[in-house]
Symmetry: C2
Subunit: 410 residues, 2 copies
């Protein structure tokens, strides 16, 4: 049997976690405040946005740098970003309200916000929401669903994932994850110092040493997603490991790492797929790069190109734009050696031969259009220089992206 098994589940699937999602009134109607709770203090691993304009909750959490968290509160509808000192006070107050409701130290409480930038929180509503959520904490699929919904903004689908994996010591552990994120998405989250918010829970045991592995997993998953190239002020990804499965420390357990990577990659793909207005998921695989950094840079330049994204929206076989993006990445390659392949559905179409396209006739170009006319389009670029590779995910640029973002604040 494969060690990692994806199962139907969410953040309360691992033992000892409870969650709630309620309506506080920050948003007009929908759920807008989520609370996650671990029965025992969990080792916390956090990744924060590297945007220099950091939201108040990010600033607060980075400063406190808690190694253990027992609860995380998340509100949607208002990012508490660009809110000055009052914003910092409000984020601290959110932590205190949770701590008092659950009998915790405020340092054990994580806080995240997402939504409109540049407005003060209505703390009256937030306090009311926290007290409701604290009373509603529960485990099971219903609770999973409520918290996943409460953190959504322009997301059109709930982003949940869970996995079960048997560690090398025989312990069966669970990983659960929820995430939100649809626009303002190109996280570069750093562990030591995305607006995608993610909460990952596990009943495995992890030590502070796991931090490095956590950064590398973030770099290959969440940090390789881009909807619009705009890194948020609020991106935060929290992994809570409460050890309730009573296994050995899983820091170096390849099965655990593989399972976590699988969950994080799934979440990353879901965010890209649900990018604002997206009709297609674009996966970019770059191989043959000189360095890992160069491979990543080529992936990012392709998935961030509005021209590539619009062409894929229209299934317009304008592959020249992909090469334009490769050239703009600033990476090392010789055009004669580059191989470009476009894959969609059952079709895998090689495009280049010695620096020039194979297809010149209109009819031949039609096969490229057919490959692009799929819900998932994969662009494969082999730079032919070295051995490093990277994979990233984005989405097409559509009329709906423009519509959503031309009327967001209104």
């Amino acid at each position: 049997m494969k060690m990692v098994e994806i199962i139907d589940g969410g953040v309360t699937t691992p033992q000892g976690f409870k969650a709630a999602g309620v309506h506080s009134g920050v948003k007009y109607r929908s759920l807008d405040l989520g609370l996650l709770y671990s029965e025992v203090p969990a080792s916390a691993f956090v990744g924060y946005t590297s945007n220099n304009v950091k939201a108040a909750p990010v600033q607060v959490m980075m400063k406190e740098n808690s190694e253990k968290l027992s609860a995380v509160v998340v509100n949607s509808g208002n990012a508490n970003a660009l809110t000055g000192r009052r914003g910092i006070e409000d984020a601290l107050e959110m932590k205190r309200a949770v701590a008092s409701a659950l009998n915790l130290d405020p340092l054990e409480v994580g806080v995240m916000s997402t939504g409109l930038i540049g407005r003060f929180l209505d703390m009256h509503k937030i306090r009311y929401g926290i007290s409701r959520a604290a009373g509603a904490l529960d485990s099971g699929r219903e609770a999973d669903g409520l918290i996943a919904q409460a953190i959504m903004t322009t997301d059109t689908i709930k982003k949940e994932c869970a996995a079960r994996v048997r560690l090398q010591d025989g312990t069966l552990v669970y990983i659960g994850a929820i995430s939100k994120g649809s626009g303002m998405i190109e996280p570069h989250m750093k562990v030591l110092h995305g607006t995608t918010l993610s909460l990952i829970t596990t009943d495995a045991t992890l030590s502070p040493k796991f931090r490095e592995t956590w950064q590398s997993i973030l770099d290959d998953s969440m940090n390789m997603v881009s909807v619009d190239g705009d890194q948020s002020t609020n991106d935060t990804c929290i992994l809570m490991a409460n050890g309730k499965a009573n296994g050995k420390c899983a820091d170096d357990d390849p099965e655990f790492i593989d399972a976590l990577r699988t969950v994080m990659t799934r979440i990353a793909r879901t965010i890209a797929k649900d990018g604002e207005g997206a009709t297609k998921l674009i996966e970019v695989q770059v191989t043959g790069a000189d360095t890992k950094d160069e491979a990543r840079k080529v992936v990012k330049t392709i998935i961030n190109s509005p021209l590539v994204k619009a062409a894929i929206f229209g299934s317009d076989p304008n592959y020249g734009r992909i090469m334009m993006a490769v050239g703009n990445s600033g990476c090392k390659f010789s055009l004669d050696d580059v191989r470009l392949t476009i894959k969609g559905g059952d079709m895998e179409v090689p495009i280049l031969d010695s620096g020039a396209p194979i297809f010149q006739e209109e009819r031949a170009v039609e096969v490229v259009r057919m490959a692009m006319d799929n819900k998932e389009v994969t662009i494969m670029v082999d730079l032919g220089v070295g051995k490093e590779s990277a994979t990233g995910w984005g989405c097409d640029l559509t009329y709906d992206y423009v519509r959503i973002n031309a009327e967001y604040a209104s």
Copy 2:
């Protein structure tokens, strides 16, 4: 009187220049081949794209690096990019055809292409076009207009500009310019080694030493335009100075430099204004930066943000996105000191006070919407760190941008 005077004119306004624009058949109906000719060999200053995937004409011109040019041929409809060795042969053949028609050395002939990437040129049509254009060379406003039209792709307006300036030695010189460019626009043109194509003519005298000044003017004008952040494979900007006004060398003449800068800035603004699908011109002025590079980086991060661009399209007062972009630029500043002002029409609205927005009430935010509801919107950011500044131009992100680019090749 002001020394620099903008006048009605084009590339043949300076003495000794002739131009033609014809239909060769590369495009279905419209003019698609332009030819510019100087009666005497002109000192040539060229800026080329720094995209690593360079179109064949760019590769050819960079290799030959001619100090003097007597003619430049430009075709639209096909970029002759990503066309391998055959593309190089075709670019060379274009030069030879012009040289033979005008009795010139092929080294004296510049070549530029713009249009679809990844298709071979139909040289039969190109040769026919060149011979027609050579026969049609003329000076005057009609010829100016024909060549300006012949180099257009998705442009909706002809981009022409001319100026008259009196040098310090008393000589009256003329500068004429045409340009095309609407999409795939974020040129970083380098003189020594931008698809906007521009042809600038002058009857002033310039020496090779003018190269550095030319780079600095390019950096402050064309290289500060971004429609979509996608640098083309073909960007080229050629300045031809034929000395027909018989003035002294104008390399260091402040009046001449000012006039050239004025013309180039006007052309740059026109390109941004006519960005694919654009309804608004966005000017971004950054002041108080620590270094010029940082100032430029902040300008570029703002004008390239799809979220900022879409907000401006919808006159959506979501200024938080502007600060998100400032934060993503990676530049040095303290949020408490940053000043942000949005200007449109008669309105000039300050946004931030000590790191938080001045406006919190919906009604107050309306003034921001009113400022944004103009054909030209100016975003002013004072970083409050140092003394460097930069200005750049972009446009809003609209439904039409998506439409145009989802069906370009088709």
